[in-house]
């Protein structure tokens, strides 16, 4: 189980997170929706301390981290319990697909090389890239790179997988293959927090949907509550805009 309490983050005068809190149960998929600049990505990046939050409490699988009372070891522990899939994939450019997956296993989890290799191969099989083991990121398409990114996160066996707009940088025809992999990850019962604009994905996969705007949670509930019967005007406007542009794109 993962719980975030009263998370605050400002850049200079600009308050991006104004006390966010939520709780994700084991095996749940949390989808965070919201317009750009609403603080969704910052929220994810604060959970594994890629950005240092100003205030708040993070509780993941028996580890409690209170902002302001952290040390390097705690942050490292926190990062070992989480894994992240990035908008721009962020694969290690100097490593092949299989090496990308192996890196975390060898360094953070101190697994021996052979075992790490076998585990990495099996996760690359899971995302359908068993024939691309020795390719460098520069030799892969965006969709393939992102699937490697997902395999890299999965292999770490984290308490929670965080997806930061995983399909936003992809060409439209490549979005499907990545979403398919994500759905299968969800079916396996992984705990996931997903920041995305893919409403259909949220409707289909999410256990819970959060709508964020202006650094606060505007609305929270099941997909049918938030997506199909939104209560707040801001949510309605956002959904309108998104579905409208989706329709336009489909045409």
């Amino acid at each position: 189980m993962i719980e975030i309490k009263n998370m605050h983050k400002s850049y200079n005068e600009n308050e991006v997170l104004k006390g966010i809190g939520f709780r994700v149960k084991k095996g749940e998929v949390y989808v965070i929706l919201g317009p750009s600049g609403s603080g969704k990505s910052t929220l994810l990046r604060c959970i594994n301390f890629l950005e240092k939050p100003d205030k708040g409490k993070i509780h993941i699988g028996g580890l409690t981290v209170e902002v302001g009372k952290t040390n390097r070891k705690q942050i490292n522990e926190l990062r070992k319990r989480t894994a992240m899939v990035f908008q721009h994939y962020n694969l290690f450019r100097n490593k092949t697909s299989v090496e990308n997956v192996m890196e975390g296993l060898i360094t953070a989890q101190r697994m021996d090389k052979k075992e790490a290799y076998e585990k990495s191969v099996s996760y690359l099989e899971k995302v359908g890239l068993e024939d691309r083991l020795d390719y460098y990121p520069s030799q892969l398409s965006g969709g393939q790179q992102q699937r490697v990114g997902i395999a890299r996160a999965l292999a770490l066996d984290p308490d929670v997988m965080m997806f930061d707009e995983p399909t936003s940088a992809l060409d439209p025809e490549l979005v499907g293959e990545v979403l398919d992999v994500m759905k299968s990850v969800a079916r396996d019962g992984r705990t996931m927090i997903v920041v995305t604009h893919e409403i259909e994905f949220a409707r289909e996969v999410a256990s819970n949907v959060i709508f964020m705007d202006g650094g606060v949670i505007v609305e929270e509930g099941s997909p049918s509550q938030v997506i199909d019967h939104p209560q707040e005007d801001r949510t309605k406007q956002f959904l309108n805009r998104v579905t409208h542009s989706k329709l336009q794109m489909a045409q």
């Binding site: 990062r79 962020n90 360094t107 030799q139």
Partner: protein, 530 residues
């Protein structure tokens, strides 16, 4: 507006400063006369001299060339109505090259006569000075009195001088018992190294040595009987156009010797007469016959010297490699200090980089060579260290100065390369649980290396060429050996061509090596077929 004004003021001030400085410089150097052969019936003669050879030729407090050599030429100038003399100061080895290439018409620099020189240049009949060469040692040294006492000792001497030839001749005859350390430039570095204990002795002109010992306040003395008495001559180019000048100068010297003017000038400068003609003078000229020719380019000598100079390529490579490796480590540390803005250290790093980039390498080498022993000596006195400063080989100071120099330049390359690595790479590394060190070593550094490699290659090549300065502090590398070999027969041009070829070849190989490495490191940036 304010800023603009300030900028304009600064520019004006700068321009003013430049004008004033260049104005001063040109005022102080009236000696560099134009070199047109004939102007209004008066022939202008350019005299080349070192200008750092006190008391024979040097610049006084007013930056005017003066000294015994200059006084003698001035006296000749007075006696010759149709010739006007101007003076140019230059380094010893470029004097002869300058004479050959018609930059100078005459050399006045206490030049002695020997067979090779006579083969290439023209000497007047009259000498104008007799220098008495003597051994010079620390003033508490009573064991060295004659040449034979030098066996097994380290003796320093400036490359290409008569004194070097005396030592080389002795070594040829006796099976090289003396270890000769070659120096470049004037006597003072040799003297300072004797006092510092790096050398045991030197041979040099008695007058010169005493003057320097006094001037520098060194605890040294001249000792024993004169090793040799060597007459000094003005030197001219061979050929008919130079012949007239030579005979005119020779005539004037005869006159001056006859009427006692020459002896008077000597007494004025040295308190005694060093101009009397001695018969045994001629004896010193090399007994062994050597080939020497006056062709423009002696290809045979060039080919013969090539392997002799090439033998010192490992020294150059060693200096370059050691300095590059140490420089990389220093550069990396400095870069990290700057990137992570580590308090206090970052100020030191900035100071270090700005100092090294703002001062000439040559100056840094002198600072290292003379400064480090001083500091160590001081520490020794204060902390009872047991380091024998005088036994540190000179190459250590070369390593130190080149490593520090390279490190400063590399630190900027490394810093920008590290910062050029996409920030997402570091975030991804953290996100899979790597520590800061792991992320740096496994992800950031390899990528930064690929970015920096072309610059590293360039730095290495300039370092390789910069090491040609090593001979300044008595380390014999390609360039040093070229100077030593060249000085033997005054075939400097040939040996410089040799060394140019050697440097060029090495750089070609290094360049090739770097591009192969680039290709290998770059494989992950390539396309599908890479």
């Amino acid at each position: 507006m304010y800023k603009k004004n300030r900028l304009r003021k600064a520019v004006i001030l700068f321009l003013l400063l430049c004008t004033v400085l260049t104005g001063c410089a040109s005022q102080k150097n009236p000696s560099t006369s134009n070199r047109s052969k004939e102007s209004g019936g008066v022939r202008k003669v350019v005299v080349g001299t070192e200008g750092t050879y006190q008391p024979f030729n040097y610049k006084d407090e007013k930056n005017q060339l003066t000294g015994y050599d200059i006084d003698v030429v001035k006296e000749i100038d007075k006696r010759l109505d149709d010739v006007e003399f101007g003076y140019v100061a230059a380094q010893w080895d470029s004097l002869f090259l300058g004479l050959e290439s018609r930059k100078y018409d005459m050399i006045a620099d206490q030049i002695s006569k020997d067979e090779e020189r006579e083969g290439k240049y023209s000497f007047p009949g009259n000498s104008y000075f007799n220098s008495v060469a003597s051994l010079i040692v620390r003033d508490n040294n009573d064991t060295i009195k004659t040449m034979d006492d030098l066996k097994g000792k380290k003796v320093g001497v400036s490359v290409g001088t008569t004194f070097a030839q005396i030592l080389e001749k002795y070594n040829r005859k006796h099976g090289s018992p003396i270890s000769i350390e070659y120096y470049e430039g004037n006597i003072s570095s040799v003297l300072q190294d004797i006092e510092a204990g790096r050398l045991d002795a030197t041979i040099n002109d008695k007058v010169i040595a005493k003057e320097h010992i006094k001037e520098l306040g060194l605890k040294l003395k001249t000792t024993g009987e004169p090793v040799i008495t060597v007459p000094s001559y003005f030197v001219f180019r061979k050929g008919s156009d130079s012949e007239g000048l030579r005979s005119k100068v020779d005539e004037a010297l005869s006159e001056m010797r006859a009427d006692g003017t020459l002896s008077k000038i000597s007494t004025k400068w040295f308190g005694e007469d060093f101009t009397a003609v001695e018969q045994q003078d001629q004896q010193q000229a090399g007994e062994e016959k050597k080939e020497s020719s006056s062709e423009l380019l002696d290809v045979k000598y060039m080919v013969k010297s090539f392997p002799e100079i090439l033998r010192y390529a490992p020294v150059t490579l060693m200096i370059s490699l050691v300095s590059m490796l140490v420089g990389l480590i220093i550069g990396l540390i400095t870069a990290l200090v700057k990137i992570y803005r580590i308090p206090v250290l970052k100020w030191l790093a900035s100071f270090y980089v700005s100092f090294i980039r703002g001062t000439p390498l040559l100056v840094q080498m002198y600072l290292s060579y003379y400064g480090i022993p001083k500091i160590l000596g001081f520490m020794q006195g204060h902390y009872q260290w047991n380091v024998d400063v005088s036994n540190i080989p000179a190459i250590v100071f070369v390593y130190v100065s080149f490593s520090l120099n390279t490190g400063a330049y590399l630190s900027e390359t490394i810093r920008s390369a590290i910062q050029a690595v996409d920030k997402g790479q570091l975030e991804a590394a953290y996100s899979v649980g790597m520590s800061r060190l792991q992320a740096m070593v496994r992800i950031v550094f390899p990528q930064a290396l690929t970015i920096a490699l072309p610059n590293f290659g360039n730095s290495f090549i300039s370092l390789l060429k910069d090491t040609s300065l090593a001979f300044i502090i008595a380390v014999v590398d390609i360039m040093g050996q070229a100077k030593i070999v060249g000085a033997r027969n005054l075939r400097f041009f040939e040996v410089y061509i040799d060394s140019a070829i050697i440097y060029w070849l090495i750089c070609l190989v290094v360049g090739k090596g770097v591009s192969v490495m680039e290709k290998r490191l770059n494989k992950y940036e390539g396309g599908m077929t890479a």
